[in-house]
């Protein structure tokens, strides 16, 4: 694999998605849309982390016929960000499911998902 600049593509896409998600979280009024924005922001962080671990002209961190066991350190990309992203994806799934459950409870309580209608915690 020799694709010049793919790490810049992934990094740039990550930043764009991060800003889109942030904008959605602070600008949208509907709770479901806020949760979707949160998921977009979550994904953007995964993209940024993976592109930080990317290295040119290297292959996946799996020892097989393409990577020798003794010289792995000079042939594979960084395995650590990939492991962290694996953790982050699972946590993201859990958090999203939890937020959707809260949204369902809020809807049952008030009959609406517009965030402006929830004033109990405003002072």
């Amino acid at each position: 694999m020799n694709l010049p600049g793919i790490e810049y593509l992934s990094l740039g896409l990550g930043i764009v998605l991060f800003l889109a998600g942030l904008w959605g979280i602070i600008h949208q009024k509907n709770i479901i849309k806020i949760i979707i924005s949160f998921s977009v922001l979550d994904t953007s962080i995964h993209l940024i982390l993976v592109s930080i671990g990317y290295m040119r002209n290297r292959t996946a961190p799996i020892i097989d016929s393409a990577v020798s066991k003794t010289d792995a350190a000079s042939q594979v990309v960084d395995p650590l960000p990939q492991a962290l992203v694996l953790t982050a994806i699972v946590i993201g799934v859990g958090i999203t499911a939890l937020m959707l459950t809260y949204a369902l409870k809020l809807f049952n309580e008030k009959g609406t998902l517009e965030i402006d209608k929830f004033k109990s915690l405003k002072w």
């Binding site: 790490e7 810049y8 990094l11 930043i15 991060f18 800003l19 942030l22 904008w23 602070i26 600008h27 940024i48 930080i52 990317y54 290295m55 040119r56 996946a60 961190p61 799996i62 020892i63 097989d64 066991k69 792995a72 350190a73 000079s74 594979v76 960084d78 395995p79 650590l80 990939q82 492991a83 694996l86 953790t87 994806i89 699972v90 946590i91 799934v93 859990g94 958090i95 499911a97 939890l98 959707l100 459950t101 809260y102 369902l104 409870k105 049952n108």
Partner: protein, 232 residues
């Protein structure tokens, strides 16, 4: 209007911070010390061909235990919050289409098999417990969708989850007693490098994680589905 310009200001500020952070970004030429250690000694010490698995299950196994705990907490909270709603009797459900039922009867065993394959081979190929568990849960979604009338046993899922969670911690503790430390996988024989039965306890631990994650995600989906049925 003032509010909108304030929001634009926040987003622009965040964009500036991010761009400033990555402006000097260069693809690195060599691994840093920690990753280099994982890449050089990982195959020798853990016997796992997939270095990401070696990091996730062994070197940072405690993180993975925390991660599984968070998923367990999420499933518990969702079950606690949603299951209080009573199921209304006599709610009429539209019959499931025959295409879906027939197709899912063919597909569900295959999807299950793929899920098990993914977590059994977690130490050799891309994939592992979390991915395999998610695939198992997707088979569960298909099953819930196609068999609309039948009830799924919560206790079966909970027992699976409890046994696999207990097994995970138990294997970790065996690592303390028989090998170097918590979640050390070398108390089982490392076997031939690159074969299915190798890498000590890693395949066992990852299979338990896969079962646990599959049971937890299935439970979340099941509870959400039952709440939806109760509200119709």
């Amino acid at each position: 209007m003032i509010r909108n310009s304030f929001l634009v200001l926040i987003t622009a500020g965040m964009a500036w911070i991010l761009l400033d952070a990555v402006s000097g970004y260069q693809s690195r030429e060599y691994l840093n010390d920690l990753s280099g250690y994982y890449a050089t000694s990982g195959p020798e010490e853990t016997g796992a061909a997939n270095l990401v698995t070696a990091v996730v299950v062994t070197y940072r196994g405690l993180d993975t235990l925390g991660e599984v705990t968070i998923l367990f907490l999420t499933a518990t909270i969702i079950g606690f919050m949603l299951r209080t709603s009573k199921r209304r009797e006599g709610s009429v459900r539209r019959a499931t289409s025959e295409v879906l039922v027939t197709a899912s009867n063919v597909l569900i065993p295959v999807i299950f098999l793929i899920g098990v394959y993914i977590f059994l081979n977690g130490h050799l190929t891309p994939g592992g417990g979390f991915q395999g568990g998610a695939v198992l849960a997707s088979a569960m979604i298909l099953w819930i969708m196609s068999q609309s009338g039948t009830k799924v046993s919560h206790s079966l899922l909970e027992i699976t989850e409890a046994i696999s969670g207990f097994g995970f911690v138990f294997l970790g503790l065996l690592g303390i007693i028989l090998a170097g430390g918590f979640l050390d996988n070398t108390f089982l024989s490392l076997g031939t490098f690159g074969k299915l039965i190798s890498a000590g306890a890693i395949p066992v631990i990852y299979s338990l994680i896969g079962l646990k994650v599959g049971a937890e995600l299935s439970n979340i989906i099941l509870v959400m589905n039952e709440t939806q049925e109760a509200e119709q």
